[in-house]
């Protein structure tokens, strides 16, 4: 018995320390970001306001996520919330009301791609973040669309095996995965629904793994945290290799 007590005195602190060390990395890890899953395009000036996270509040108050400085907009006017089915808008007791396609809403309503949203005097078009269509060449891409062209460099993600080029400049986040709400869809076994995400922040693209089951490799090394990427870097997801090209140098 004395032996057990003595052994316990030494063993218990060691075990306790190991248990805490085991659990702490998980406890320190927060929720994964889901990136931008939609935009509100301002009718007046064409500004694209990204919708990220799960709840975006709209109002005149400075604590709102989208601040609209119009007298006709209430302090806390409405909330856009992301659900499994898509984005939804709820009016939070605003004076002038919230309208979808000129129809005043009195209870939460689902938003569809291209819906016009009116908060007081502010008019927006809701744009869902749909998967990017791959383009074989830059020329084809530019002929086919009249999309918003950014001031910055032209950036592509190129699938090495098929040569598909996905243009990602103008985006703030680009999700790669098997799910429906990603920007680059990769329908292969072992790929997680949200597998990896490219994030554009302060003029620099970074890549992060979304806690996927089989991980993401950057230039042959596993991605453990948000890592900056540069022209020519390769991103490997379950056997599919993507090449990151920026400044318009496309060699698909």
């Amino acid at each position: 018995m004395d032996f057990i007590v003595d052994a316990g005195r030494w063993l218990l602190p060691v075990l306790a320390a190991v248990i805490v060390v085991f659990c702490v990395p998980s406890l320190l890890k927060g929720n994964a970001k889901i990136g931008v899953t939609g935009y509100l395009v301002n009718e007046a000036n064409g500004d694209r306001i990204p919708l990220s996270g799960y709840e975006v509040s709209v109002g005149r108050s400075k604590v709102c996520d989208i601040i609209l400085g119009y007298n006709t907009v209430s302090r806390f006017h409405a909330v856009l919330s992301k659900h499994k089915s898509g984005w939804r808008v709820t009016d939070t007791g605003s004076k002038t009301g919230t309208y979808i396609n000129s129809e005043k809403i009195d209870k939460p309503r689902a938003l569809e791609n291209g819906d016009t949203l009116v908060f007081g005097n502010a008019v927006f078009v809701f744009v869902e973040n749909t998967p990017i269509e791959p383009q074989q060449t830059v020329e084809q891409y530019e002929q086919g669309t009249e999309e918003y062209v950014p001031d910055g460099p032209v950036t592509y993600i190129i699938d090495e095996s098929t040569g598909d080029a996905y243009r990602i400049d103008g985006l703030l986040t680009c999700m790669i995965g098997r799910g429906d709400d990603v920007q680059i869809q990769l329908n292969r076994p072992n790929v997680s629904r949200r597998h990896a995400m490219l994030v554009f922040d302060e003029g620099q693209w970074s890549v992060t793994d979304m806690d996927s089951q089989f991980g993401t490799m950057l230039n042959g090394k596993p991605v453990r945290r948000m890592t900056k990427i540069k022209d020519g870097d390769t991103i490997d997801i379950c056997g599919t290799t993507y090449v990151f090209r920026t400044s318009g140098e496309v060699s698909a």
Partner: protein, 423 residues
Amino acid sequence: MRRKKWWLAALTLITVFQVISMVQVLFDQPAENALFVLDGKGLDAQSALFFGIFILVEWVYFIAMSIARKHSDPALELVAFFLTGIGLVVVAGANKEQLKTQFIAVMLGIVCFAVMLWLIGNVDRAMLMRTPMAAAAIGLLVLTLILARNIQGAFNWLQIGGMSIQPSEFVKVAFVFVGASTLDKLQTTRSLTKYIIFCVVCVALLFLMRDLGTALIFFFTFLVLAFMRSGDFRTLVLVCAAAAMAAGLVVLIRSDFVMERFSTYRHVWDDIYGKGYQQTRVLIYSVSGGLLGVGIGKGNLKDVSAATEDLVFGMICEEWGIIIGILVVLCILFIAFHSIRCAAGARSAFYAISGIAAGMLMLFQAALNVFGVTDLLPLTGVTLPFISRGGSSAICCWALLAFIKAADNRTWIKRGELGATQQ
């Protein structure tokens, strides 16, 4: 990349830890008629059964979770089970008769955790519950005020049948719940007014009960909730309400009972056999425990009144050693930190606010307890989350844990909803 099955290793280590600590308190019966005899002492079969069931429930819970919600992060519950296990052994080491009640309370707490998680799993369903919750909380406090007996200067205990419960513990859960559901982003100004009325009524009733520790915890939680919804004129309203509550606190401090506690503060060594008795014993015995402790159930602090409740941190330092004492405090700190990390990017403002409020409440309570017994703060007689003896407290802590768990998005991913397809 995901760490695979790491929880299995952690759970095994926790089980080993619990078995080693439990064995130390189990062999204290006469050798006659005992199932097992070790060193001339018989096994306490009843306590062994309770510990056995506890470990079994632990394993069943994690295995069930890994099947039903394989993406859920088990670290939070691992830490909670780890702390609860220490609490049970501390209680058994001090007084075996109290183990049964504590064990039942822990089991009820785990059930409560599951029920709360289901209840708040759907935000719309949670919103329907807030008026009944608020009414139940106020009703419970009023009932306590009418029926309670004076125990150690406070009127906060309710006798029902043979059991005594501390309703203010359950009201903590309702306080966080109502606070988060009325301060949710999707709410209008009307719900905020109702919430402030609820807060003022709750704290006023606690003042009347002279439950200083809980009143302080409520006040702090209120500040956290107010901060989470800060900005704009609403803040002004909240701050006004906070000031009213602070004024109430001052009134409370003027009462003789509280003055007595404050007069002892920083003067425990002046009256080591009187007012400073508890704290001085904690300080003396904690030191004698050293780094590794004197051995579970072998300490002297357990004979001091409220040793396993308010003074439990001293018990751990004496019998288990300061290393485990610090690790226990770190565990609670990390739980609180986890709630902050999860709030960013939570699926709803409701989860973010309730998670942070619950995490901060636990941390503040732990700080009051640990700093109280070590005379860094006045001793207010609050429990150490998950560890202290006290049925209501154990149930409350597990229920609060559900709020933090809910703020972690991985909790809600159903099987097959995310991740790889099978080849």
